[in-house]
């Protein structure tokens, strides 16, 4: 049997050609498993060219029927021929799978099953359209949020680090944070491995700079304070979300992080929200494509480029920074934490010296100079998209139960198809230790 896949109106549609017996069932299973996105609800199996169906084929259809039922979705069959239909009848399965005459009807039926859920969501919280996106807003905490930070991005990017820059933090102190860090027995152990890191609800995910580009995921069973995170630079959300925005894009290519931040700043300005010069975002979304860049080796003083020049300098960039602009992980789930600074806004309320510790210009990020974004994200798979779930609860659930795939420093060109976004409007920047003066 041959199988082909296609997306028709966004619905995963599998064309089978030949015998759907125990052998063909394996091929069908494989193509569905590798093509199913975390936000897929219903799928269509086109059986116009399937002459034969056995219990082996029914087994795969039933397995996905059960999986998609949890997402309120269906397995819809199209163009079922005479004999396969008889097998479904004999097996008592004609009531389990809706059967449509044509692929077009099946795709339309799959779309309707998704719309019904959207309708329920719509009644719960009305949405409005914005630049090809459907956006809903839930209000969050009225308390002001601040950013706490450790170290300075400038020291990191000029490779000025030594043991004196490293600070140990407890898991419980960094619910949402990003930066440069490592885990190990002590400072000297961690120092040569410092890499991109993110903490999410008591878990630390980081990319050790050991040359393997393989992330490490760690969740302590209990935060006894014995296991510590060693960090040279860390931006920590101090407070919680003031709003949760949910959005869904019309197109399969979704929206980039830079456009998303731009829209959030614009939306805040329209509603005269203050402060709105800096936001911190916690995102749970479905990827249309992840693009990344990340530090390759620990930025130690001993390895610094001469003349106190930045490792982001085009001359050194490739030695120090990996970047990957091939969009990856389409249809997988991402949980990210990051900050955005809008230089077009009035940033007068923030201490300019403190602000400077937070940003830099990454040459790999092409585009607007008006925005500075810094986001780290963790990729998971097989986490059904459930728009009704609460953001914090869902992040906890994904971090503990999701199938961990990768962790990266995100380029602003990373694209999301849909997401729930916790927005904290930052009212101040607080250094965790007194600023070092050069």
């Amino acid at each position: 049997m041959d199988v082909l896949k296609e997306r028709q109106d966004g619905i995963l549609t599998i064309f089978c050609n030949g015998r759907l017996d125990g052998f063909g069932a394996g091929k069908l299973e494989e193509i569905i498993r590798s093509s199913l996105h975390d936000d897929d609800r219903s799928i269509v199996i086109v059986m116009e060219n399937v002459s034969y169906l056995s219990s082996g084929g029914i087994r795969v259809l039933l397995a996905y029927r059960k999986l998609l039922k949890e997402r309120n979705g269906l397995v819809i069959l199209a163009g079922v021929q005479e004999y396969p239909r008889k097998v479904l009848e004999m097996a008592g399965f004609t009531t389990v799978f809706p059967i449509c005459k044509t692929t077009r009807e099946a795709v339309a039926a799959a779309g309707r099953s998704a719309d019904r859920d959207d309708l329920l969501m719509e009644i719960a919280s009305p949405s409005h359209s914005r630049k090809g996106m459907k956006v809903t807003v839930e209000s969050g905490s009225p308390n002001p949020a601040t950013l706490k930070f450790i170290g300075s991005l400038e020291d990191v990017l000029h490779a000025r680090l030594d043991a004196s820059h490293i600070k140990a933090v407890r898991f419980s102190d960094v619910e949402y944070s990003l930066g440069l860090g490592a885990m190990g027995d002590g400072v000297s152990d961690a120092l040569p491995l410092l890499g991109e890191m993110i903490t999410l609800h008591g878990s630390m995910v980081w990319l050790p700079t050991d040359g393997n580009s393989t992330p490490d995921f760690f969740t302590p069973a209990r935060d006894t304070g014995e296991v510590k995170i060693f960090t040279a630079f860390n931006v920590i959300l101090n407070g919680t979300f003031n709003e949760v925005l949910s959005f869904e894009t019309d197109s399969d290519t979704g929206i980039s992080f830079s456009d998303l931040y731009r829209e959030i700043f614009a939306f805040a300005r329209e509603r005269k929200k203050k402060p709105a010069g800096i936001v911190a975002l916690v995102i749970w979304g479905v990827l249309a494509g992840l693009e990344s860049s990340g530090i390759k080796k620990s930025p130690l003083r001993t390895d610094a480029p001469g003349g106190d020049r930045s490792i982001m300098d085009p001359e050194f960039f490739d030695t120090w920074i990996d970047h990957d602009t091939k969009p990856r992980y389409r249809g997988d789930t991402i949980v990210s934490f990051g900050i955005g600074i809008d230089f077009a806004s009035d940033l007068g309320m923030y201490d300019p010296e403190l602000l400077k510790a937070l940003y830099y210009i990454n040459p790999a990020n092409k585009g607007s100079e008006q925005l500075f974004l810094h986001n780290h994200g963790v990729v998971f798979r097989n986490v059904p998209w459930d728009p009704s779930a609460s953001l914090n609860q869902q992040v906890k659930k994904i971090v503990t139960e999701g199938e961990f795939i990768d962790m990266r420093h995100l380029l602003d060109s990373t694209r999301l198809r849909r997401a729930k976004v916790g927005v904290a409007y930052i009212s101040g920047i607080v250094p965790d230790t007194p600023l070092r003066t050069p």
């Binding site: 394996g26 056995s54 029914i58 059960k66 039922k69 008592g92």
Partner: protein, 142 residues
């Protein structure tokens, strides 16, 4: 008149289409109608799937098939040296259970029973021997 054909193959899931192809060719060549071909074909495919997936789950081996065509009846005998397994003892599935309680186990044997008129099983000399009997439909009514 009785005409018999024999086929032997390695018990591998990849060979299911090959078994089906051989059977179809044999039956069509002997003038067996399409509906009978499909129904006995389904029974043979389900029986061979069971042998490959369960009987030979932990070992390799062969499947021997003999198909005999009479004017009024088809018989197919399938032999394997896998784990002893008597399909006649399989509990029939509940066909109207809700989705969460649907099971695939027993469905193959249920399909075999649905499309055959008689089934015989014996375990002899270390072999499972399953014989499927199907009364042929009137010629020309497919």
């Amino acid at each position: 008149m009785k005409t018999c054909f024999h086929f032997s193959t390695k018990a591998d899931i990849e060979n299911l289409p090959q078994i089906a192809g051989w059977l179809e060719e044999t039956l069509a060549g002997a003038g067996v109608g399409e509906k009978d071909q499909f129904e006995i074909g389904l029974a043979v495919d389900e029986a061979c799937s069971n042998i490959i997936l369960y009987g030979y789950a932990d070992r390799s081996g062969t499947i021997d098939i003999e198909s005999c065509i009479r004017d009024d009846e088809l018989t197919v005998t399938i032999e394997d040296a896998g784990k002893p397994f008597n399909p006649l003892e399989v509990t029939p599935p509940v066909l109207d259970a809700d989705i969460d309680h649907r099971k695939i186990g027993g469905l193959g044997v249920h399909l075999i029973r649905s499309v055959t008129d008689d089934l015989f099983y014996e375990y002899r000399d270390g072999k499972n021997i399953l014989t499927l009997v199907k009364v042929r439909g009137a010629v020309g009514c497919g």
